[in-house]
């Protein structure tokens, strides 16, 4: 693949990831806890871990397109950190702490699971 093709597919994959996250956020908009972001971040970490584990068997350019493009845009850090601070400012420190702990535990666990399964299969 040419560099331009990789760039185009990477941006296209990013648009797809961003739209999926927006859809999930709309579904969870009524929730008092940022569950939608938690779920997309965990799901994106699972996929990203699997791609990392399988990277050596994938065609050149594909891991970059999927990791940086799709998973990078599907998951988000800015909403996670702003939501956490908004919970703190709303005097919901327990919910803020729970948001941090559950995001990290699920994210790391899903990334490790994805990588482990991919390495076991290839």
């Amino acid at each position: 693949m040419t560099g331009l093709a990789v760039f185009g597919l990477l941006v296209g994959a990013g648009v797809l990831g961003g739209l999926l996250r927006h859809g999930a956020a709309l579904l969870g908009a009524k929730s008092r806890f940022p569950t939608a972001v938690l779920i997309v971040n965990a799901a994106g970490s699972l996929v990203a871990g699997a791609i990392l584990g399988a990277a050596s068997t994938l065609p050149a350019g594909i891991p970059l397109i999927l990791l940086t493009g799709f998973c990078g845009a599907l998951t988000t850090f800015s909403t996670f950190s702003v939501d956490t601070v908004r919970l703190i400012l709303a005097r919901r420190g327990g919910a803020a702490l729970w948001n941090i702990i559950s995001s990290l535990a699920l994210g790391l666990g899903c990334a490790a699971l994805g990588a482990g399964v991919a390495l076991a299969i290839i």
Binding site: V11, S56, G72, A73, V85, L108
Partner: protein, 147 residues
Amino acid sequence: MSWLAVAAGAAVGTAARYGIDLLLPHPIDGFPWSTFIVNAVGSLALGWLTAALWDRVPDWVRAGLGAGLLGSFTTFSAVMVSAIAIGQGGELVGGPGSVLPGDFAGAALVVFANVFVGIVCALIGLLVGRGGRGPRLASTPEGGEDA
């Protein structure tokens, strides 16, 4: 309209993040400075926008700048993948057959740096954006009803 704004924002945000990756390349088991920087800058910007702008712009502007641009510019999965690669070593980093040792402290540093600095930046952004105009935290970052 808001879906179109999200798509446009996501295209720009993803391209910008990739550009910073290219400017600051790092090995898969090295500290991901590019990811750290986009997450810090994106958290600061979203905090500021949430407090300063969100309650006086239409839905599609919030969706385009928040969910689209900054949501896609910043990334959670890259932090997790960096931490797993650094912490695990072996075949994830060195390829098939590698027995490279993992670096648990290095992995913890990546996670802690992103979370701590991201949250501090979001707080600064929210407080600066709020300025002297009193609390303006009624709308969510994604532009929906109050979370």
